[in-house]
């Protein structure tokens, strides 16, 4: 087994173990930290696939943005040292069964397909290439989704302010 393969298997074990701990840990703060490790591992997987820009975006947006937001909301909403209530036993068992069944089904379907890598072409995932294609108006350009998503981000920002704004008592 070569070095890149070993790196891949270590990374995937790390991602899956941290993800599993993130959904099963009984302390909510630890759960958020495990989520952070899992997302960092996914960024490492993107580095392994030589998609440096996506890996950087993953670290900046997920690790630096979303996880920090989640940790802040944990601090705002509850005592972080307190244990979460354990899931109802029957619910945990049945959801584990359903998840295993779904996983098996998906894995069988993946195994049925013969996914041969298309060997020749080399991918040019440099930032310059991504940027020029993102803003191009020609056949494979993404300028319309880009504009739509900027409207979406603006709408989300305004929506967050409107939802989370504190109304004074007697001000309804």
């Amino acid at each position: 087994m070569s070095v890149p393969a070993v790196v891949f298997y270590i990374l995937s074990f790390f991602i899956l173990a941290a993800g599993l701990l993130a959904v099963t840990s009984r302390k909510i703060f630890r759960s958020a930290i495990w989520l952070l490790f899992s997302l960092t591992g996914i960024a490492g997987l993107y580095f392994w696939l030589q998609m440096e820009f996506i890996a950087a975006v993953q670290i900046v947006v997920y690790v630096g943005g979303i996880v920090v937001l989640i940790i802040f909301s944990i601090f705002l909403t509850q005592q972080s040292g307190k244990d979460l209530p354990a899931p109802v036993r029957s619910r945990a068992i049945f959801s584990a069964l359903a998840v295993c069944a779904g996983f098996m089904l998906t894995w069988v379907m993946i195994r049925r397909y013969d996914l041969h890598p298309a060997g020749q072409g080399t991918i040019d995932a440099s930032v310059g290439n991504i940027g020029s294609q993102m803003l191009s108006t020609s056949a494979h350009g993404y300028v319309l989704p880009f504009e739509v998503i900027s409207i979406l981000l603006l709408a989300a920002m305004i929506g967050c302010i409107v939802i989370a704004i504190k109304t004074k008592p007697g001000d309804k």
């Binding site: 759960s31 989520l35 997302l39 392994w48 979303i66 909403t77 899931p87 890598p117 998503i149 967050c160």
Partner: protein, 104 residues
Amino acid sequence: MNQVPLSHILFVSTALFFIGMYGLFTRRNMITMLMSVELILNSVNINFIAFNKYLYPEKLEGVFFSLFIIAIAAAEAAVAIAIIINLYRNLRSIDVEDANEMKF
């Protein structure tokens, strides 16, 4: 990277997706459910990148889909946390079982 077949990467992303589903089924706390949703979205991103890299190496469509998914996930997390904080202010709890009415 060619020593690792594509199906192994798909195995990782499928496992991550179903780990997220397990969290979504068992957790009853809104913030932990949001974390499970983030895991699910990330597993989809891994799929897009891996397919782009292995099957269509001369194009960049998977990269763009991943970028847009990441942007939408950020917007979704921000709105979800605003809603959670607003609910906590009204109900003093972020358990989904307690949020059983839509009008205050």
